[in-house]
């Protein structure tokens, strides 16, 4: 895939190495997003068991 990158005022196509760096960054970000989604799913599962909304649980915790 071709990416465009900007360095100061210059916009140009990324080299193969730069494209690999962009994809590595995006993969790292996706891994973090996946971890967060898992955490949120686990949290929601607990709320579902308790029959509470997130706001109600927050109110209980003060």
């Amino acid at each position: 895939m071709t990416y465009k990158i900007q360095i100061d005022d210059l916009v140009r196509d990324a080299t193969a190495e730069e494209a690999a760096a962009i994809e590595a960054g995006q993969a790292e970000a996706q891994a973090q997003a996946d971890a967060l989604a898992l955490k949120q799913a686990a949290r929601q599962a607990v709320l579902d068991k308790l029959g509470l909304t997130a706001d109600e649980a927050q109110a209980l915790l003060g």
């Binding site: 990416y3 465009k4 990158i5 900007q6 360095i7 100061d8 005022d9 916009v11 990324a14 190495e17 730069e18 760096a21 962009i22 590595a24 960054g25 995006q26 790292e28 970000a29 996706q30 973090q32 997003a33 971890a35 967060l36 955490k39 949120q40 997130a54 706001d55 927050q58």
Partner: protein, 181 residues
């Protein structure tokens, strides 16, 4: 009497003990996957404010920032982020421990997003610290608050930021230095 912009900048420190001085202003291009600013930091200032505002993205995503203008670093980035959507009171926390960048420190939007990064000692032979805030408007509009540091004493002169996915179009990156005295 008319003053040039350089004369005005020189006049500020003499009358005010603390001030923000504009170092650079860069317009973000069209559909770029990353933006690097190469001559942002120097020995003139210890601490900096970077404002990224006014642009849009091809999709609403999180984004990351790292020091330097080269390839994504391997490790050393630590941060904790609070995030919340405007439609509820739930606060979600997420972190990076020894990550490859300060991930999730801003969010892009197809509507509008504004971020303020505060960077501490990026050009000193010390760890660089970051505090950032971001507010965006979009379908899942939310706000982010981040604090973190880079376990690395390299003296950086630039930085790079990028969306997790998609591209950025338009908006401005303004770098300011905080006068030291």
């Amino acid at each position: 009497m008319a003053y040039t912009s350089s004369q005005i900048v020189q006049a500020v420190p003499t009358g005010i003990n603390s001030a923000l001085v504009l170092i650079s202003s860069t317009t973000i291009g069209t559909t770029v996957s990353s933006v690097a600013i190469s001559n942002a930091f120097s020995s003139t200032y210890d601490n900096y404010k970077i404002i990224v505002s006014g642009g849009i993205s091809s999709a609403s995503n999180a984004g990351f920032i790292y020091m330097g203008t080269g390839a994504l670093p391997a490790s050393g980035y630590y941060r904790f982020t609070f995030s919340g959507v405007y439609s509820g009171t739930t606060v979600t926390g997420f972190n990076s421990s020894n990550g490859a960048a300060w991930g999730g420190t801003f969010q892009t939007s197809t509507d509008s997003s504004h971020t303020s990064f505060e960077l501490f000692s990026p050009n000193l032979a010390k760890n660089t610290h970051i505090i950032s805030t971001c507010a965006r408007s979009a379908t899942t509009a939310n706000a982010l608050f981040t604090g973190g540091y880079l376990a690395d004493t390299t003296q950086y002169t630039g930085f790079t930021f990028a969306p997790d996915a998609g591209t950025l179009t338009g908006g401005t990156v303004r770098v300011y230095g905080y006068t030291n005295s």
